[in-house]
């Protein structure tokens, strides 16, 4: 009986080791989606007019992108959809487009201190 028990424990241990953790399809999809979202956000943040506005406010692109990078997948998705909504609105309000976009970005990544310092 004891032997049987011991064998069971050994087997359980072995099963844990041998249970290969392949990368599941869901994980693949979400990591690809994250990468694509990051690329789209980067392309917006790297725009010349946006960069200019950011530097006027004393914020570097790196700070913004680092913050975006730290977001969870769902935060990132929400950020991106808000950003694209902002861009749609920005088209209609072309005059203040870049300023608006920058304020939006800063608001979304939580660099709110900027408003106190200016």
């Amino acid at each position: 009986m004891f032997n049987y028990l011991a064998l069971t424990i050994v087997c359980m241990g072995f099963v844990q080791v041998s249970h290969a953790e392949v990368i599941g399809t869901e994980q693949l999809i979400s990591s690809e989606a994250r990468e694509a979202a990051m690329t789209r956000i980067e392309s917006i943040v790297m725009r010349d007019d946006v960069r200019q506005q950011l530097s006027n406010l004393g914020v570097s692109q790196e700070v913004v992108l680092a913050r975006v990078d730290r977001m969870t997948d769902s935060e990132l998705a929400s950020f991106e959809s808000s950003l694209s909504q902002g861009i749609v609105g920005g088209d209609a309000l072309a005059v203040i487009g870049a300023v608006f976009l920058v304020l939006l970005i800063l608001e979304l990544v939580g660099v709110t201190d900027i408003f106190k310092s200016i």
Binding site: V17, S18, A20, E21, V22, I23, G24, T25, E26, Q27, L28, I29, S31, R34, E35, S74, E75, S78, S82, G86, G89, A92, L93, I96, F100, L103, L104, E107, L108, G110
Partner: protein, 342 residues
Amino acid sequence: MSHAGPRRPAHSHIRWRTVFTVFAGTVLAACSTSPDTVRDYGALTQTIELSDTPFIPQERYQCGPAALLTVLSVAGATPPLDEVVERVYLPGSRGSLQAEITATVRAYGRIPYVIDASMSAITSEIQAGRPVMVLQNLGVSWLPRWHYSVVVGINPLADQVVLRSGTDARRKTSTNTFLRTWSRSDYWGLVVLRPGELPANPEPQRYLQAVAGLEATGRYHDALSGYDAALTRWPDSTIALYGAATANYQLGQLAPAIHYYQRILVTEPDHLSARNNMAYALFESGHYVDALVNIQEVILRAHEDDPLLGQYLASRDELCARVSIIDPPVDKAEGYCTTAGE
């Protein structure tokens, strides 16, 4: 009458919203009626109604479970209502969350597919025999009254939709009113598919994501049927191939798993997740050295900022640990486990 109160996703940009509204209010004011692209009935010219759809009257506040059981039972899953209530109903908020609804659909081995935001998407599903569960807001945006119901019929001539709604077995609503209430949930609409069944107008990414949810919850047989169906429609879809490979692997069917991973790697040799999993499939089928060659290749090709790098390294450690205890020792294995660069 019912009050479902799904928690809307928390937005971190409420303040921004306010700012935006002030600036853009005039621009957006024109958007309060649904655009023609949403209203369009598609190819439908005649009245259509799925009269066989069961009617499950809701109890107080529980329109979510009742509507969900309606669409589940059309897809052949008929759990008792109590059980569905337990899974999706949140007494605190007197309602159900969309995420809990899709999770429950998966728990019954069905695929929850969120349809496109249009009348024609509903029409196509109904024409395919599937009623559509929808989330409506019967109140106004600032005083919401969330409600789940099921669209079972459309009459394009009278501009009406027919709903199983609350305690109404057959509520007729004008399309305009319906669209106004539906728009406030961002047109959230769900169909329940049997594994192997595709939606009327499937969007590949969204469909495969729904199937991947089945795989992630351990329903490998159901997931495999879903991926197989995807491969009949999109034979070269990398995600569908990957899913079919992974579901096969999890079912211990190593030959088809290797076949599908191989199909990805032929066209995308840098698909590191596929190569990582390929290493496992080869290892399990006794091709130890091939497995180690592949996992070493993954680590050599990986960028240092690859979010999955940690996982690749863990894979190599695991496979090397396992090969080291194989008796008799595997020829040449040592080399792949000591020289791999980190």
